[in-house]
Symmetry: C2
Subunit: 192 residues, 2 copies
DNA sequence: GTCTATACGCCGATAGAC
DNA sequence: GTCTATCGGCGTATAGAC
């Protein structure tokens, strides 16, 4: 891609993405039609199609900043020597992304449509394999693998649940991390 | 409802539901159109409409046997005197439903469309409140509530995950229940 | 009471004019 | 780069045959 058009654009992808995120957050992904996004951004439906070939492309582009952060999380975790420290780094990193109100991920992670879409993304599956190996080792036991799967599946539904509402950001992070540690039978790391 | 029609039907809801479940399980709920279900059952799309006014009605009717079982689970749990025993009864009951291959719930629980649909059902929300009180008491601490939310959200994604594939049904139940106990900080009950 | 024929308005997506 | 026009398919809905 990126045939590098030297000219600046009039509406630009940024405005389309901003409009899309606004509507996705308010109404959900599936409920928001391309017509809605186009109207909100001030173009026609077909005008959208110049920038994005499919609706999925729009959704994924809204998420790009968050998704790009995932490899950074695992890279940081690789530096730690103990398993407990790596677990905290990876789980904490994911939780941070999930709790960041300004990221598309936080807004959309719980969206049913997105979960389906992400599981089809090859790059996402590869990252997940890396993260699993990093946390559980090359030959993990079934118990730990199940715990990790439950944490990831549970996080998306939990991070925006009303039970977290009375807590501040630091407490939320702490509570969710504690859940992850319990599921993985991991101790609180002593280093760092 | 139940205006008790004395005559028997030619195709009957049972066959429609069987066809729907078959396609839902194979292709997912959203991918399956009413036209697909009608063709599979041997009627026209409008023929479906005589029995069900909306697609959601079909989905909910496929689930009815499973959903009807939930109150039974909480009723059984009320008989126990210790919290640990109640936790095991409720969590175990939900896990059993989620793992039963012959129930619509097991097939559809992980389906994104369904999770959205169920959260809109008033009866479902009421049951969830009951179950929460039963397990955590009338004034639960935040930690336990978060653990329970993560378990429920995580179960639907975990119960059909490939990591469970090598296990038999008894081991699957055991592993998932162990996850729930850890999240709720509940001991294995000594009674029963 | 059970089904078919037909249609409505909206969807995501495409072709081609300006 | 953005438009109008159009496509096939969707969920939903009514009229009326049997």
């Amino acid at each position: 891609m990126e045939t590098a058009p030297p000219r600046r654009r009039r509406v630009g992808r940024e405005q389309l993405l901003a409009a899309a995120l606004r509507l996705f957050a308010r109404d959900g992904i599936q409920t928001t039609s391309l017509q809605d996004i186009a109207t909100e951004a001030g173009v026609t439906k077909a005008g959208l199609y110049y920038h994005y070939k499919t609706k999925d492309e729009i959704v994924l582009d809204v998420l790009r900043p968050s998704l790009d952060e995932l490899p950074t999380v695992t890279r940081r975790a690789e530096a730690h020597r103990t398993r407990a420290a790596r677990v905290d780094e990876v789980l904490g990193g994911i939780i941070d992304i999930a709790l960041d109100e300004n990221s598309g991920f936080a807004v959309l992670m719980k969206d049913p449509y997105l979960q389906q879409l992400l599981s089809q993304q090859e790059s996402m599956r590869r990252w997940w394999d890396d993260a699993t190996t990093l946390i559980l080792g090359p030959a993990p036991d079934v118990e730990a693998r199940i715990g990790l799967v439950m944490f990831i599946n549970g996080l998306s539904g939990t991070s925006r649940d009303p039970v977290l509402a009375p807590l501040d950001d630091r407490s939320r992070r702490q509570q969710l991390l504690a859940c992850g540690r319990r599921l993985l039978r991991a101790e609180q790391p002593t280093e760092a």
